[in-house]
Amino acid sequence: MYKIVYKKSLNAAVTMMDIQAPLVAKKAQPGQFIILRVDENGERIPLTIAGYNRNEGTVRIIFQIVGSTTAKLNQKSEGESIADFVGPLGTPTHTEGLKKVCIVGGGVGCAIALPVAQKLHDMGCEVHAIIGFRNKDLLILEDEFKAASDRLTIMTDDGSYGKQGVVTVPLKEAIEAGENYDQVIAIGPLIMMKFVVATTKPYGVKTIVSMNPIMIDGTGMCGGCRLTVGGETKFACVDGPDFDGFAVDFDEAMQRSAIYRDFEKHAYEKTCNLFSKEVE
């Protein structure tokens, strides 16, 4: 069992937790993820390592409540435990030699992007961050990003905070203004990453994306997380989750992410009903 030592709600739909997992904390690197199961009948779901404390032996996760498992996880309180927590999985984000980087985060993807931004910033790399949310209520990690970047641009779809518009607008402006990024790192919904790539490709700015297909084992055993990258089959859990954005087949990935839509909807409704009954 893995104890939840700290829990904080970042907004109505996003929660942060620190989990006691010393072996994972010891090895974790930005860009890697864990797989957890909340309880005995639980599904295995991947979440990115949003931070770690090697001394305390804790690993931070930040998750958006989107369905049944994330809802169950969010029901757990500080001091309670979850059944399984395994990692660190995947290949760490490559940061060597980078001098100037633009990090583009969308929604909860910002949680995944933050440790990468922090590492680059600590290395002395110039970090420009563009983070986007649907509206002000969904904004997370503003202070953390401010601390980890040399320039921070916040975008909201409705203009309720920061500037109004999507993240690709300021990205394109920056590139056109002559910011010579060694790399753009985009982390967020598939559709956002697809558009980031469409923005950077004409300028030939190398763009790394963090893919999040449906996973089970996270060790290369099931092949469920397969993607087409540059015409080759890759397993996101071991070969990724970071890939060269220009080579990823996003349309295929988007189609595959909806395999279990009906099941998930049903399971979510069931979980919500269960919890609302408990409350009554």
């Binding site: 072996l23 994972v24 599904e43 055993m221 099931c222 092949g223």
Partner: protein, 475 residues
């Protein structure tokens, strides 16, 4: 006692096909005491013991069968236990028809003795009636790490624990058992049997740490140099699935057998209360002809499929699956499309509406018919395509069961560990010793996908080599 000269084996009591095809309970229910004794009476107790030479771990077959004849089932069990760590498992899943039973004298005129069925009977009898005395051997001061809790790892850990070694198994998944829990379905191998083996290891003082991926969470080098283990055994299996590389493999409804079986077995997607989803397809094609393919096909039936095909490019004779499993599958209604090779998986695509939720789901499997050509160097006749023989089968799921290879994770993170061209760890066969000092390996991680008994045997071999090595150091 006169031998029972009936040319046929006592049939295995089983659930009727039309019933069992819709439930996950064990298909074969096992011999009764009387049937077991009757079957044992068919054994001639041959002095030259041809059956034993066919057994990969040389179980003393005529001796244990002789004990069954006398009704001394526990003694029969103890004889098997001298050579095998997992009798209840092997009695169920061993390909006896290619091993002990293939060499049985009774098989010359009629059917061989049902050695596997007798092994299973004896193991189940022991598990039901005998409480193993708690045994905690005196610790001998050595620590051994075992990577992977499949049959190879469990067997190695068990033998070492019995000798007083402090053994820790590191397992990547959340449940120990390897393929026995994530691959082979409940209806062929009840999970309670695997759990019992795991509990027995724990009772001996063996520790199992789940959720540890060696190569990620910790490395082999750390085990040896920082964590104080005197030796390491690698039994990490051959879990990396292969795909065919044909168009359409990314459609929704295409699974590797590993994924499909893992969802159903390990994650229990077949049960109502599991949170893990699985596509409940109505028409399913399983590509491949091994045990894995049969398990996937029969699982699909039990998950509610109305039509299940096995698509295999050679003929019935070359089918690598155990005969019994093929027979069971066919009785349950699985249709065999032999000499048939897939060329493309077809999917739904509504050109009018890109957001149509049906888009991207499997609708069919296009195949060509094959015929068998010249034998290759191993004597297997190579299938060749028959021109203009295309067929299309309507299906909504395709499961690829065309083989697996060793996962490169440990190799990639362990400097100095030698592997062969197929990714198998190179070992000295008699000992399981790898290219690294104090590191041993066995099972599918070495041989590629093989059998439970070979993996178990390799675990035992390495345990005794590790023991000799470490005891040798003392002198």
């Amino acid at each position: 006692m006169a031998a029972n000269m009936n040319p046929k084996k006592n049939p295995m009591p089983s659930q009727p096909p039309e019933v069992r095809a819709h439930n996950f309970q064990e298909v074969a229910t096992g011999y009764t005491k009387d049937t077991a004794i009757d079957e044992a009476m068919r054994c001639l107790g041959c002095k030259h013991m041809p059956c034993v030479s066919g057994c990969p771990v040389n179980i003393h077959i005529p001796a244990f069968i002789a004990k069954i004849k006398e009704g001394e089932f526990e003694e029969a069990y103890q004889i098997i236990a001298q050579s095998s760590s997992l009798p209840a498992v092997c009695g169920r899943v061993c390909p006896q028809e290619n091993q002990c039973e293939k060499h049985c004298v009774r098989g010359i005129k009629g059917e061989p003795v049902g050695i596997g069925r007798l092994e299973r009977f004896v193991a189940d009898w022991h598990n039901t009636y005998v409480q193993d005395p708690p045994m905690r051997p005196e610790p001998n001061g050595y620590k051994v790490a075992v990577i992977g809790a499949g049959p190879a790892g469990l067997a190695c850990a068990g033998d070492l624990a019995k000798k007083g070694y402090q053994v820790t198994i590191f397992e990547a998944l959340h449940t120990p058992g390897g393929v026995l829990v994530y691959g082979i379905p409940e209806f062929r191998l009840p999970k309670s049997i695997v759990r019992r083996e795991v509990d027995a290891l724990r009772a001996l003082g063996g520790e199992i740490q789940t959720n540890v991926v060696v190569g990620k969470t910790i490395t082999t080098d750390e085990l040896l140099h920082e964590m104080g283990f005197d030796a390491v055994f690698i039994g990490s299996g051959a879990g990396l699935p292969r795909f065919m590389g044909i168009p359409g493999e990314f459609l929704k409804g295409v699974y590797s057998a590993n994924e499909y079986l893992t969802r159903s077995n390990l994650m229990r997607a077949y049960q109502e209360n599991s949170d893990t989803p699985i596509i409940r397809a109505k028409r399913v094609a399983v590509v491949g002809g091994g045990n894995v393919a049969m398990d996937a096909a029969r699982t699909a039936l039990r998950l509610g499929a109305e039509k299940v095909y096995i698509v295999y490019r050679r003929s019935m004779e070359e089918l690598p699956a155990r005969y019994e499993e093929v027979e069971h599958a066919m009785e349950e209604g699985v249709e065999m499309l032999l000499l048939t090779n897939p060329t493309e998986i077809l999917g739904y695509n509504n050109p009018e509406d890109k957001r149509d939720p049906r888009n991207g789901f499997v609708t069919g499997l296009r195949c060509v018919k094959m015929e068998l050509g010249e034998p290759d160097e191993r004597g297997r006749r190579t299938p060749v395509e028959i021109p203009d023989s295309e067929i299309t089968v309507d299906v909504d799921a395709v499961i690829m069961a065309i083989g697996t290879s060793p996962n490169p994770l440990i190799k990639n993170t362990t400097s100095g560990l030698e592997v062969n061209a197929r990714g198998g760890i190179v070992v000295t066969e008699e000992t399981g010793a790898t290219s690294m000092e104090r590191v041993y390996a066995g099972g599918d991680a070495v041989t590629g996908a093989a059998t439970v008994i070979l993996a178990m045997g390799a675990g035992k071999t390495a345990a005794s080599a590790i023991d000799m090595y470490l005891q040798g150091l003392e002198k």
